[in-house]
Symmetry: C2
Subunit: 210 residues, 2 copies
């Protein structure tokens, strides 16, 4: 079972790492980080480079695809190399998944038409515009398409998917080893819960908040 995690410049690194950490010990699975060209790919903080071990051309039959998001939607939606690869490999995947605005890439590639899906809370309108039917849920399954809400939701997506693939005991073991017993010191993780003026500021200034 090959898990391919797609990278592109200015991706959000926790989007990629959350699912990776929950899925990487799946029995019989190997994970490959993949990008247009093999080599280091920089994140949206520009402080970090994660190495793509293979190019899109070299990974043609992944079983599971994970597309992370990033703060500038054009990086995903107008990334023809990424979209072309997604269209090429999707017909033979078992699961095609995304975290955060990664779902905008799946939608722009034409893979989410009429499907229930989710994205970062600032990107739900754009997701609908691209033909998906957005929900407010944290993890959405529609057939083999699995989308997660913003950034950290990829952890919950990875656990849920790991459970579907390898059973509850696999997922519980992954959760225990990652000591995923969240105790956030604030309760500001969604636009419904965060202080209204912070939400308003993001809606005003984010490229996704239009």
């Amino acid at each position: 079972m090959q898990i391919a995690i797609a990278l592109y410049e200015r991706f959000t690194v926790l989007d990629a790492i959350g699912p990776y950490q929950m899925l990487y010990s799946l029995p019989g699975a190997e994970t490959v980080f993949v990008a247009e060209k093999a080599g280091p790919v920089r994140d949206d903080g520009n402080s970090l480079a994660l190495v793509a071990e293979k190019s899109f051309d070299e990974v043609r039959r992944p079983d599971i695809v994970v597309v992370p998001g990033g703060p500038d939607q054009s990086d995903q939606m107008e990334n023809e190399a990424l979209l072309g690869w997604l269209r090429a490999v999707d017909p033979t995947t078992t699961w095609t998944t995304s975290v955060c605005t990664g779902s905008l890439a799946l939608a722009a590639a034409g893979l989410l038409k009429g499907r229930r899906a989710t994205s970062h809370w600032l990107a739900l309108t754009e997701l609908d515009r691209l033909g998906a039917r957005s929900t407010g849920e944290r993890v959405v399954f529609d057939g083999k398409y699995v989308t997660a809400a913003g950034v950290s939701a990829g952890i919950d997506m990875g656990l849920t998917l790991g459970g579907r693939i390898a059973g509850d005991e696999y997922a519980q073991s992954a959760q225990l080893m990652a000591e995923y017993d969240p105790q956030p010191p604030y309760d500001a993780g969604s636009p419904e819960k965060a202080p209204a003026h912070i939400v308003a500021r993001f809606r005003e200034h984010s490229p996704l908040g239009r």
Copy 2:
């Protein structure tokens, strides 16, 4: 403000990325990934390489140090390059922090003697043996030393520390943008909550479970 995240072979990547994602937009902060030698450093899954931009020799006055953990405690505790660097830079840090078994490195470097601290649940005994006073808490502050429990606890640590450094509004904004509103599909994130036979299996087979 320089945030230095220390890497070494077979580190657990979410340990490093959780705090990074919560702290990387601190006003005036730059983050540098650092290792014994600059270049790619492979994780405990051996599927991923994160690039250390600088060597330990090049980063001598970080304000914040973050040490991730890894499943094989000897990788931290017997890593003289890492321990030497920690001893050298700690006197001038504002915060010296760890996630998961990263605290074993801090303790082995002599920085946690008599201090309250935490680690991965499988490593608490070892942490005590090294002179710290382990607690069952998820995030522990003792002066400038901040330690987090296993893997995903680094997200909670990063948010807590971000709030201390830059105020509640910074931390709430980081939480909102990461949509950190956890909804784990299972409730197995601690040894108290996970099925007993899974906990027992890890205690029996993990190198940390002795």
